[in-house]
């Protein structure tokens, strides 16, 4: 009996030991890592080294930990006489200490609003702004100025942030750019994708005009995608989704748009697409998946009457060995998930 108990204790202690070993090794790894960062930060702070050497030393590390070093990095960032490359590298390591630090925040905004500022430092300021703006509901004035920035990345950032926050001026500028490409701040497809992120939808009429007029394929594609909720565009979207002469991507995007804006009727839109045997496979699959989405719930299935035309079509497809295997499988999935009353 003693032997059994001893064995149990050995097994138990080895289990605990094994786990502690993992924890201990991770602890050591962290200690080593912090020591390495501290050393690298010291190298970076050593102004006897060349700028390239200093930057190379700190580059592999994302964060610095030592409070004294953090203060020294801040001092470097705020020193207008310091090498901009060094200032940018220092700023890159202290992002988490910027919120609440008025001087650093002010510097960031000054850099964002000043296209003449050193490129490396300004680029770092933009990256910092991208980081901190994620969790911020503030929309600084400098974003308006950035709408006219000569650099694309700065304009893109400002338009995106302002549009998400519902800024009317930014939205109007993008719409004007769509109507008159000479005034465009951003390429049309990019502008439409940003507009479609907005919770405000004042751009629909202008965009519908674009859809009817543009010959540019990427622009047309983005316009189709964004207009699903615009009722006036619905007949056009239906036509595109069914038109065998349209590129498959345009047809699918039109069906997507109908799904977004009028999901209740998606089976009506999907039926002629799935029934037309010339329809590309992917479009058929997507259309059936949409029907599964809206019909698989108990809420639909309990009240569903006899199988309708779509159910009957899908049943035929599921049993037709001449059809593509993927189409058969998707049809079978429909039958299993929706369980029509055949």
């Amino acid at each position: 009996m003693k032997k059994i108990i001893l064995s149990i204790l050995i097994i138990s202690s080895s289990l605990v030991y094994g786990q502690n070993e993992t924890k201990d090794s991770l602890d050591h790894e962290i200690d080593d890592y912090v020591n390495n960062v501290n050393k690298a930060a010291n190298q970076f702070l050593n102004d006897k080294l060349s700028a390239a050497e200093r930057i190379k030393a700190i580059e592999p590390y994302e964060i610095i930990y030592d409070e004294k070093q953090v203060q020294q990095f801040k001092t470097i960032v705020l020193d207008n006489n310091e090498n901009p490359e060094i200032r940018a590298a220092a700023l890159n390591k202290i992002y988490q200490f910027v919120p609440g630090d008025e001087k650093l925040e002010l510097l960031m905004y000054q850099l964002l609003g000043n296209p003449q500022a050193p490129k490396s430092l300004r680029k770092e300021a933009l990256e910092l702004a991208e980081n901190l703006s994620f969790a911020s509901m503030d929309v600084p004035d400098v974003y308006q100025k950035m709408l006219e920035d000569p650099e694309y990345e700065f304009r893109l950032f400002a338009f995106t942030k302002l549009i998400i926050h519902g800024d009317s001026r930014a939205q109007q500028k993008l719409i004007e750019g769509l109507e008159n490409p000479r005034l465009a701040s951003l390429p049309a497809p990019t502008a439409i994708s940003i507009l479609s992120m907005s919770l405000k939808k004042e751009f629909y009429p202008a965009l519908y005009k674009i859809l009817q007029q543009t010959k540019d394929e990427p622009t047309r594609l983005e316009a189709i995608r964004a207009l699903g909720f615009y009722k006036e565009a619905r007949p056009k979207l239906i036509a595109i989704s069914r038109d065998a002469g349209e590129q498959e991507e345009f047809r699918e995007t039109a069906l997507d748009a109908l799904y977004a804006g009028d999901r209740e009727n998606i089976v009506t839109y999907a039926l002629p697409i799935v029934a037309d045997m010339r329809t590309p496979l992917r479009l058929q699959l997507v259309a059936i998946q949409m029907a599964i989405d809206v019909r698989q719930s108990i809420a639909y299935r309990r009240k569903a009457a006899k199988a309708d035309n779509f159910d009957l079509l899908i049943k035929r497809l599921s049993k037709d060995k001449n059809k593509d295997i993927q189409l058969q499988q998707m049809a079978t999935k429909y039958v299993e998930d929706v369980r029509p009353k055949y």
Binding site: I8, A135, T190, L199, V286, I298, M330
Partner: protein, 649 residues
Amino acid sequence: MKKLIIILQLMSAIGVCGQNDSAVIPACPDRLLPIIEVQINNTSSNHDDYGSTNIYTVCSARIINYADSVGNKNFPGGLPVELRNPVSISKLVFSNIGDTDSGTASVFDTLPEDGSWFTFFVKGIVTSKVDKTAIIEIALADVTCFDAVLARKALMIPSGPAPIPFYEDRPRVEIEIGSVSTLDDYVTWSPKLCRIRWVNPAPPIQISFHKPVASNSFVFSQASFVEAGNANPASEDSTFLYVTLQNMKGTNRLRFANDSLAAGYTATDSVLTLALPADSSWVYFYVAGNFNNASINDKDAVIEIIDAEDSLLLSREGIMVRIRKNANKITAAERDRYLGDLKKLDLTYNDYIDFVQTHSRDNTGIVLSKVASRQAHKGSAFLPWHRTFILHLERLLQSIDPSVALPYWKFDTSAPNIFKPNFMGSNSSTYMANLAATNPIVSWTLPGEGVPVGIQRKIPYGNNGHPAVASEIATLALGSPSFSFSGFKSMEVSFHNPVHSKSGANSWLISQITSTRDPIFFLLHCNVDRLWAKWQWLHNRYATNDTVTYDLQGSFYAPAAGVLGPNTTANRTLGQYADDTIWPWDNITGGSGAAARPHIAVLTPLPVTLNAALPGSKPTIKSMIDYIGITNVTPGLDLGFGYDDFFPY
């Protein structure tokens, strides 16, 4: 006596015996969860949970909590349900008449309001070589609240004889994982209280009982030895049935402990022997997942109950070790289940949009809210708030499919399997992610949000790359050398923010207002939570009253001594202190200044599930910290999740 009291307290808290009166249907949080018992062949023992492809097997189900404490019916008119296979496991046909009926993939019917048994029939479509691979699923089919899974009972359709031969005189045992309901048959690395009893000790067949003999055939665990010792194993005439609990061959997903498990520990024994009294009283024990061997499918963690005297198999119970896993490494089946469930959450429950519109918005759709934003960002509550947020979504998903757990995107390393058309989508020539036609989320849509179908995401780091964020080691080192929460919480900026901000200039992910639209948001935040959990484990940060665990101790109205007081600029506002309740789950709205809450709270309450009693429907910051319940006096009280990359005990 003390042990008994603890067990009774635990039973009361977590609902052993199905008495958890606070569990709700997650998608309908004002609706009491019906506790359903399911039997196969009309026995509470699993020894005969085997069916056939030739003839129907009789099954039955009933509502356990059909009446409240004063006898009022909880489900007047009965409970409309659908009996069916789980999605993608079409192994059974169902009938409510049996006999010559051909059966169908699902049957709608009503469970009686008075708790009496409802009989139905199942027949196999295909046979299986593995036990517990066919599953009867019972889902709610109410007009206003539907598609919530209420029970899953596993069985087997063997091609030959059943693995457990039927003999009338064999001892039979009944086992409950958590409660009689199967909805809590899901374990993590934390211990779950279970119970087992001998159900047929009485005549007609007299059975002789023997104490188990230590031999090479099985090993006593330390815990089981104590249990057997209590049962006076020295007596040859002891009226106990000795059983050994072990994993079914080829599984090894579970670990066991007896009911003397100390607080702060989990079940770690691969075998447990218990003495089951002849008076059919319950014997309690704990079960937990075996680290590094989490389940892949529901019911694939199978407990075998062996007669310790003759080593014969008495019963099997299929459960699941349900763990949050690295999304880059999950199986195709796990991935597809997750995606399918996510789509149902979005379109069948219509609930996903509430998450979109709660994150930095006032729940009214287009109204942005600084007050809503600060509940969750730029403050101490960032981590506990998002832990609650993703737990809420996970519990809704588990109502659709109890086998699903949130996967995480380990975004400081490459994760090419996530950025594929069959998962979260790859980069395309447009700003929309490329999704496979067979991907359940191919037409990802957000009702009420007014945005195009699809996922607006074009990642500059490419499908095989990763955003430039602080590495895991760099993040775990935050706050060095004291490793206090006040240092670690800055991971919001160094670890979390960049994964959003570097994921494409006009991707939805880049703003707190739009990021939740992208379903990868929850994989992202699951990883953020994983790292907090890992940091907690590494530095033992579970003591909820300690400022190193959470800096803002006390409440907004009464901060603890030495803790900084309210300040709006520094976001020490209502909802940031340890004892504060968390919006929106507390349903507290309005107010002004630092005490302001958003004007409305849609995402409330937090669903209380049968599987995890904690943190309750109105969590506080403090209640979200010790997610494994390691500081609780009694084992088995936790939040119901764990991660695959570290063992927190």
